[in-house]
């Protein structure tokens, strides 16, 4: 690959970095990343990766832009309300950098389609807003041996980690083995989220993706970075591979996506009992 004169100018600030250079820029231009969701996390992820010259970006989201999204989902504008998020995002990304190939998936991510979709990509970034998708993405990445850069946010907090179980690290299930029952953890819709927190966590996901592509620095593999905006603190928690992990452990119970029910169950009896006990 030979950088054009325009590309040399466009990416000059990347190329200047000793860790990037022309060869690093060429790596970025030939890389393929997949974003699950173009919402609060997916907006900064997609914008920064496309700006940096990642060659191909796949974006999946089945939702339409809603006015309540605009407080944090910075890729969508007021006149996009009602449009599919993928369409709104693609239009901005092409305007930002016409070099980049943007592939859109309007349909929901399911057990049936996810492995087929992600197999063409190098890295998967999860910015989904629900647990069934989060677990499905983790499991599919494990089976397809794809690096997963996972981000999550709620209220004033966020978490990020990089999962590469195929290279010896833990997976998302080593950290959180099972889908939590409905109602145990509130959603952004119920509990709120400070928009800029999504920007911080999504931007960290984008940085980790660029480091993975360039193979530079120390990644978040085996570490969970926990951010608290009210204290303005970052805490780095060690995550070990769990030998009893239902997915990547020694005796896995999930050997294929068809082995697991990804629907979220109602709150368990134990919690109900403890609620009554509190009265």
């Amino acid at each position: 690959m030979k950088l054009t004169e325009e590309q040399i100018y466009r990416y000059s600030r990347n190329i200047l970095l000793p860790e990037v250079g022309g060869s690093g820029q060429e790596k970025l231009l030939s890389s393929k990343v997949f974003c699950v969701g173009v919402g609060g996390l997916g907006s900064p992820v997609a914008l920064y990766l496309v700006a940096a010259g990642v060659g191909t970006i796949g974006i999946a989201d089945a939702d339409q832009v809603d006015i309540s999204n605009l407080q944090r989902q910075v890729i969508h504008f007021t006149d996009d309300i009602g449009k599919p998020k993928t369409e709104s995002a693609k239009e901005k990304l092409k305007r930002l950098n016409p070099d980049v190939n943007v592939i859109v998936y309007k349909e929901a991510i399911t057990k049936k389609n996810i492995r087929d979709i992600i197999k063409d990509y190098d890295i998967v970034l999860d910015g989904s807003d629900n647990f069934p998708t989060r677990y499905l993405v983790n499991d599919a990445c494990y089976f397809e041996k794809k690096t997963l850069i996972s981000g999550a946010i709620l209220q004033f907090e966020g978490q990020v980690s990089v999962f590469k179980p195929f290279a010896g690290g833990p997976c998302y299930r080593c950290l959180y083995p099972e889908i939590p029952p409905l109602g145990m953890i509130p959603s952004c819709q119920e509990a709120g989220i400070l928009g800029a927190v999504a920007g911080i966590i999504g931007t960290i996901q984008a940085v980790e993706a660029l480091k993975e592509i360039l193979q530079i620095g120390r990644s978040l593999v085996g570490r969970l970075l926990v951010f608290n905006a009210l204290n303005m603190s970052f805490t780095d928690i060690k995550v070990k591979k769990d030998p009893n992990c239902p997915l990547c452990g020694e005796n896995p119970s999930i050997r294929d996506l068809s082995d697991y029910d990804y629907s979220q169950r109602e709150e368990c009896e134990f919690d109900l009992a403890s609620l009554i006990g509190n009265k």
Partner: protein, 78 residues
Amino acid sequence: MESIKIDERIDITKEICPMTFVKTKLKLESMRSGQVLEVTLKGGEPLKNVPKSVREEGHKILDIRKENDHYKILIERR
């Protein structure tokens, strides 16, 4: 300095910072270790910054000399 064999040449007199170094860096990347690049550049800011950045990336400056209105620097690729 007459005996140094020049493998590649680049003229960055029309560039402004940081493209002066970006162009030099990309040229060096395309060369093999030990090869010599001659860079023609203007005095002032480029003359101050390009050799400094080149050294910071581990290359060797073999010579800097004035020629008419411009300067020529010889760089040995790391």
